[in-house]
Amino acid sequence: MLATVAKLIARRLLAAIPILLIVSALLFCVLRLLPVDPAAMSLPPTATIVQIEAKRQEMGLDKPLAQQYLIWLHDALHGDFGRSIVFGREAGSLVASTLPATIELAAAAMIIAAGLGLGGGLLLFSLRDTWFESVADLGSILLLSIPEFLWGLILLFVFGVVLNALPFTGEVSPNLPQPHITGFILIDALLIGRLDVFWSACQHLILPAFALGLAFSPAIMRVLRSSLFDVYHEDYIQQARLRGLSERQILLRHALKNAALPTLTLAGVQFGILFSGTLLVELIYSYPGMGNLMIDAVRNADLPLIQAIGLTYCIVVLSINTIVDSLYLVLNPKLRVR
């Protein structure tokens, strides 16, 4: 059982590699086709044409596109993603220093989204055939119509500006020490033994995490509900009733696991989108993650940095998809045994 699952995961990972290569090549080509000259941008504005030309040769920009890509790929595989033009630092290390904060935010948001989605889905389902059904359904559609960046602004306005209840800029209060050990602020705060830092970090995380979580939960809710509806039309539910099981036992032991399968597929896609949704929330809450770095890079057309960050987003999304696919295989015996 464990061995078959491990084999399946390995197979999924292998299948993700060619996709990643194509993605990186596409990214490389799109960015090279831009009317921006990376060589000129990496030199001070006073540089002469000769200097720029020399830089172009140094950066390999005179070679054919395919060769340039291979050079870039070779460097990237050795951990060298080029130097950021704006920050003057290694793009790879910039990404590495901001990625943990983004992962932390996304993970918190995913937990909130999954929790709200599960609870809301069961609530919506339990309201079936009642007068509240259409009201709850309408409510879920309205919830679905508030994207994460609107939630960010609304929560910021209500809890930050009007109620002044929670902080809404940065990762911890500026008057507290900001540890940098693993990069994950919650873990680092515990590592240095500062509960006040941990508490402050939690408070700073609440609004952005809820903004994301609230935005992505309605989709999960609605899919869970409709999957449950579908499962309840199946023969084995009727047969379980005829065996005398209670409605509660039927829901928990028979329906939920079957309904989880389509829900999981959607949740996987949603979590991928949620991860990139951190970008807007980070921007709104000045959260020091990869999203804000991306915004800086994009506004300054910092190609090496855009490339490194874009690739990182893709890798994370592909990883999430792989994990969800594997989970799907674990839950679905039909696909597991072949």
Partner: protein, 647 residues
């Protein structure tokens, strides 16, 4: 006067001490239709004694399944029990508190479902589902539960129970799933088991073993069984008593062999005459016109519900609802003309389909189809041989049958012949032209000389097209542009051909009944007067009375249009009635072929023999060797688990 109640009491020996397992009195189930209520079960009464098998027989829509559902009070939305009582072991199930009723379900009352493959939860192992059931029955120790489960599986003749418990439903065949469900149903020593068409979804050769198992288990545990079926011959073999249902009414009831050998109600008689026989002389099938009334039609119907289709109907039948009268010992019928039933349709015999001596329309040589299955990036490749080295020919005006179990490759042959799949090897010569050449095939297709009638009319008819546009669909194919007038004319002719005169051309498939849809399905294939029709299980989804209508239609098409047909079916009686030659397919190969009477009289291949013996005999008095052989085997092995006695 409570005829039915009185009648049923007469069914059993007047044994006062026997407590009845189930006693229905004037049971009425109604459906809400708009603002009005329509009875789907009308004042039904019967008695069921312990250890007896009661058959509920009838076509779909008769209300058989509603009775089983009503017992558990798990009726579809809009349906409810509105009258009468259902006493189980002396307690009324209708008036009972839901919690008490639920406690009985799965414990004292168990159900064997119609579709075993979907009745088990696909994401849980057999063991987990069995264990859950036993735990609910009150067995505490997991070890005991496991042992009990293994014992039950062994009793259901499932080998390697240990492995089975760890498997998931999709890893088992339909027959194995049904054995598991039977084992689980009898695990609690139930007093009553309801088996709702338990073999309908299974292969023909599985029918007898599954019925045998139910009969054995029933005997061993002394259980009373309600056996719901559409098959009169099956009911005659298995049941002690039967009730023939029609549109929610019990029309005839009594000891199974008496009722089915000397039917007193015209409906029972007509149903038997509509069913082709496997052994007796061929006769023209009796055709009941129209179909069973729908709920909506029942709303404003008076008198006997069978009147519109009854050959003996008089104006009186329309006015009064006939009482349930005793016509023999324990034999009851609700009809004003019981004496006339035996005289219906003095069984005209025919010589059977004519052997064809015409030119060969189709010649198939060494046809093979091998599917290659990719098993993912690292899985390598596997091959499945669906059809292997099939050779046969069909002559003009000849009906040839292709029989076999599901998965034997019958449907693949059909797809290869019409070009929906490409053969791996072999030649298909149609009308003198080699059809393996795609260009020639395309031309034959344009000419419409080779057509297929699909199995499921629900899926074969585009729900968005109106009937006239469906039957003349071939006229808008390719670059042809028939005018609407031409098409209307052709549609009217085709509809008349398949017996659908009237205003059908403007309807949508969703507004038609199953039999009407199948007629449309056939009419569409006839549009360009094909030389050969491939018909894939086209009557298997239909009720007996509708099936007879379609079979007679096909025979008429052969005589009038001179069309040849490859008739794919699993039903040997139907095949014998319609076809002159037969091909028997088993695991992708044609194992036997020849004139149908010769093959059926003297089958050579073991599979042909197995198929033939799987059909219950026509005469209720005859014994069916497959079902009777082991009946005595398990007697006296009755062991009652002590823990079960308590509950």
């Amino acid at each position: 006067m409570d005829y039915a109640a009185r009648s049923m009491r007469g069914l059993r020996k007047p044994d006062i001490d026997t407590v009845l397992t189930l006693q229905a009195r004037e049971l009425t189930i109604t459906a809400r239709l708009g603002g009005t209520f329509v009875p789907v079960i009308n004042a039904l009464s019967f008695d069921l004694a312990p250890g007896k098998i009661l058959g509920l027989v009838g076509e779909s829509g008769a209300g058989k399944t509603m009775i089983g559902r009503g017992l558990a009070q798990l009726l579809p939305r809009g349906f409810s029990i509105t009258g009468g009582s259902l006493r189980f072991d002396g307690e009324d199930l209708v008036a009972m508190a839901p919690a008490r009723r639920r406690a009985l379900l799965g414990r004292s009352i168990a159900f064997i479902p119609q579709a075993p493959m979907t009745a088990l939860n696909p994401v849980r192992t057999i063991g987990a589902q069995f264990d859950e059931h036993l735990a609910r029955l009150g067995q505490r120790s997991p070890k005991e539960r496991r042992e009990h489960a293994l014992a039950m599986l062994a009793a259901a003749r499932l080998p390697r129970g240990d492995d089975l418990l760890a498997q998931y439903p999709h890893q088992l065949s339909g027959g194995m799933c049904q054995r598991v469900l039977i084992a689980s149903a009898f695990a609690s020593h139930p007093r009553l088991v309801i088996a709702d068409e338990p073999t309908t979804a299974l292969d023909v050769t599985m029918h007898a073993p599954i019925l045998q198992l139910i009969a054995d288990m029933q005997r061993k545990h002394g259980t009373a069984v309600i056996f719901i079926t559409h098959d009169l011959r099956l009911a005659a073999q298995l049941c002690d008593e039967v009730i023939v249902m029609y549109a929610g009414r019990a029309l005839e009831s009594g000891p199974a062999r008496t009722v089915l050998s000397k039917p007193a109600h015209p409906y029972t008689r007509c149903l038997q005459l509509a069913n082709p026989s496997l052994s007796a002389g061929r006769r023209v099938l009796h055709v009941m016109p129209e179909q069973m009334p729908s709920l909506r039609q029942l709303q404003d119907m008076t008198g006997c519900r069978f009147t519109p289709r009854c050959p003996l109907a008089t104006s009186e039948c329309r006015r009064i609802e006939p009482p349930n009268a005793e016509i023999g010992p324990g034999h009851f019928a609700a009809c004003l003309h019981v004496s006339g039933a035996a005289g219906i349709d003095p069984a005209k015999t025919t010589s059977g389909p004519p052997p064809s001596a015409g030119r060969r329309v189709l010649e198939v040589q060494s046809l093979s189809k091998i599917y290659r299955m990719s098993r993912g990036l690292l899985g390598g490749r596997a091959t499945v041989t669906a059809v292997e080295d099939a050779s046969f020919a069909i002559c003009e005006n000849e009906f040839v049958a292709l029989v076999g179990e599901s998965g034997s490759g019958k449907s693949t042959v059909a797809k290869l012949l019409v070009g929906l799949e490409q053969p791996t090897r072999g030649r298909i010569v149609f009308n003198g032209e080699d059809m393996t050449d795609p260009a020639l095939r395309e031309r034959a297709r344009q000419a419409g000389s080779l057509q297929m009638v699909f199995q499921d009319p629900q899926s074969a008819l585009n729900p968005r097209r109106r009937v006239a546009r469906i039957v003349t669909q071939a006229m808008e194919a390719g670059s042809r542009h028939a005018t609407w007038e031409e098409r209307r004319e052709r549609a009217a002719a085709l509809l008349a051909e398949v017996g659908l005169a009237g205003d059908f051309d403007g309807r949508l498939p969703g507004q038609l009944s199953g039999g009407q849809r199948q007629r449309i399905n056939i009419a569409r294939a006839l549009c360009h007067l094909p030389k050969l029709l491939i018909a894939d299980e086209i009557v298997s989804g239909l009720d007996v009375s509708i099936q007879a209508q379609i079979l007679n239609l096909l025979a008429r098409l052969r005589d009038e249009l001179g069309v040849a047909m490859l008739f794919i079916s699993h039903d040997l009686s139907v095949v014998r009635h319609l076809c002159s030659r037969v091909l028997v397919m088993y695991r992708g190969e044609i194992v036997e072929q020849g004139p149908i009477d010769d093959v059926f009289a003297n089958p050579q291949h073991p599979h042909t023999q197995a198929l033939l013996s799987s059909v219950p005999p026509d005469e209720p008095a005859e014994t069916w060797p497959l079902l009777q052989a082991n009946r005595s085997l398990n007697q006296g092995r009755d062991t009652v688990q002590p823990w079960l006695k308590k509950s």
